[in-house]
């Protein structure tokens, strides 16, 4: 099991790096999907089954497909994808590395806290998450529907062809 953790972690990190460095947008999306599937594996490893399923459905099933659709819709390919200058790219890598180092340094100052509840492997099950969700977090859950509606309205608004300004 420990091996499984490191294996999944390696897949995630490598595919994440490829997302960043690969030039083709389609490839980016594919690598991101690989990364997310590995993450779903991590969720299963944490015995968070509900999350694992939702993650696969929402991220890989919906969001990434949306990305793919947009890329195809806009007909993006390698040739028209702009690249930053070499200096800027090196700077970006250095900054990312620094960020990593600083965050690692920050974790060194953490300390172990004793868990509030006795250990149980059951909490990630659908029944338990569902109870918490519809019991303690009912109001935020309902409000999130409002968020979705507004996001949908916003997306439609943006997607409409703008007649006031524009090139046509």
């Amino acid at each position: 099991m420990v091996f499984l953790f490191y294996f999944l972690s390696a897949i995630m990190v490598i595919s994440a790096l490829l997302v960043v460095f690969s030039k083709s947008p389609i490839n980016n999306v594919i690598y991101l999907i690989i990364c997310f599937i590995a993450m779903a594996g991590h969720y299963i490893l944490l015995n968070a089954q509900f999350l694992a399923v939702v993650h696969i459905i929402v991220y890989t099933g919906a969001i990434m497909v949306l990305f793919l659709f947009v890329i195809m819709l806009l007909n993006l390919n390698k040739a028209i994808i702009p690249q930053k200058s070499a200096a800027a790219r090196i700077l970006a890598v250095v900054t990312g590395g620094l960020f990593f180092l600083v965050l690692i340094a920050a974790t060194r100052q953490t300390f172990v806290i004793t868990p509030r509840y006795a250990f149980t492997s059951e909490i990630g099950l659908v029944a338990n998450v569902g109870k918490t969700l519809f019991h303690e977090f009912l109001l935020p859950f309902e409000i999130s529907s409002v968020l979705f509606i507004s996001a949908m309205v916003g997306a439609v608004m943006f997607g409409k062809r703008d007649h006031s300004v524009g090139d046509d």
């Binding site: 460095f21 015995n47 702009p82 997306a155 943006f158």
Partner: protein, 109 residues
């Protein structure tokens, strides 16, 4: 099955933290590295997910389901964000014929 449920006790929480930090930094680097706005959005998703992973890990270690509910909410927000963000990308492509963020230089006004 039993093996899996007890697996988390074999792996220290520290390792999950390091993994999240790594993914987050890669996402951050990607945001700075790319000019393609779609790639930047993808890197943002990566950062979102590193945070999700950390929340789920803490939740499991502390046996508190609230953390996983948080992850669920984050996914909701992420989905909404992607929907709006991608529609903005479509609009941008339509208006400036490009997905290059360097062309979005009107923020100074």
């Amino acid at each position: 099955m039993n093996e899996i449920t007890s697996a988390i006790q074999l792996i220290p929480l520290q390792h999950y933290i390091i993994l999240s930090v790594t993914l987050f930094s890669i996402g951050m680097m990607g945001v700075l590295f790319r000019r393609n706005i779609i790639a930047i959005l993808m890197c943002l998703e990566l950062m979102f997910n590193s945070a999700n992973l950390l929340l789920a890990a803490f939740s499991a270690y502390h046996s508190d389901p609230s953390g996983q509910v948080f992850v669920f909410f984050i996914m909701i927000v992420a989905a909404a964000e992607v929907a709006v963000g991608l529609s903005i990308v479509v609009m941008m492509k339509r208006n400036v014929e490009s997905v290059d963020i360097n062309l979005l230089n009107r923020l100074k006004w």
